[in-house]
Symmetry: C3
Subunit: 142 residues, 3 copies
């Protein structure tokens, strides 16, 4: 028998950077009782995004941050969308270059992630935010 299961939750962020939510998603998959199917994680914002990234060595996440600061600097002179602060337009571009949703197969009741893969909220604003995440799980219950 197949079913659809939806949950929303919040993640508190404290400035630019990555916040791991892998365990929270695994827990939602377990609660859904779906053993075979698909989990989709969706962030309801345009100034934060999602990534699946190396979760072992924090230096990789520091370099990711350094790369995006150089690719899209806050002080970019041709930006016109600047009313909400110098970190706002870069946040929309960083979001566009990463992902608003991630979809992960579920096998034997668990996310079929690779050994080094973690799911992260990627916050692009400097101030603290409460970010809303919607999770959709569809598949077969055993």
């Amino acid at each position: 028998m197949t079913r659809a299961y939806n949950v929303e939750f919040k993640v508190r962020t404290n400035g630019k950077g990555t916040y791991e939510i892998t365990q929270k998603i695994q827990e939602i998959v377990r609660q859904s009782q779906i053993s075979s199917g698909l989990a989709t994680i969706f962030i309801q914002h345009t100034s934060a995004s999602l990534i699946i990234f190396e979760n072992a060595d924090p230096s990789a996440r520091a370099d990711l941050e350094a790369f995006f600061e150089r690719l899209i600097p806050e002080e970019t002179d041709y930006f016109t969308h600047t009313a909400e602060g110098s970190d706002d337009m870069p946040s929309h571009l960083r979001m566009t270059l990463t992902r608003t949703s991630e979809s992960i197969p579920i096998v034997n009741g668990r996310l079929s992630l690779g050994i080094w893969q973690g799911v992260f909220v990627y916050e692009h604003r400097r101030h603290s935010h409460s970010r809303s995440i919607a999770v959709s799980i569809i598949g077969e219950v055993q």
Copy 2:
């Protein structure tokens, strides 16, 4: 009871830029009668893409366009794939850096988008095109 619902539609574009399709997708979700599940929007092209982006202030979309014109200029001297015009290879790269599909949870019969989120076709070619979008909706009918 779960079901799968598929629809295709066309979007007319008139040059580089973003074309909002949020209302069209909401309408398809309503027609599907699926109240809980997942909507996936897929663009069947390699020189146009999809983004979920800030839909309130058009200046953010103008800056997005300006950013991509600088990141991947048409006159890039090392491109070899140039037979179809100077906007062709940049279109494939812009598409690769954005998204071919977007997946959005459906809750209570509606897309669970955040308040500022819109779904856009992102056209990367200079001339007019008719772009094909395939939508897949899966979930529970009430």
Copy 3:
């Protein structure tokens, strides 16, 4: 009747570049016997990714490679995550700027791809690797 179908397979890569897997995915869709629904392809790695790209002219894929070599050079001096070689941190960034999963609607028992679209594993490391791909297919069996 709806069902969920999961398969994993391996792809052998031999250095940086793109490896087409479209026919393999079409074959899995056929085996699933699902005629209407959604196929999600997921790569279980953080130094390789997936793209849907122009599959007719190899010069477009050569230019893609040249673009990423310039956007994220191996010899970038501010990278700190360098213990696994100079191609490691660029591989995480290339992966983040492309996709870990691709979702494609299934219509009449086939992927509803556009005429020029192919699904590719995008390898970002210099050495040979065996890459694991998880496929989730959900939808209606006729």
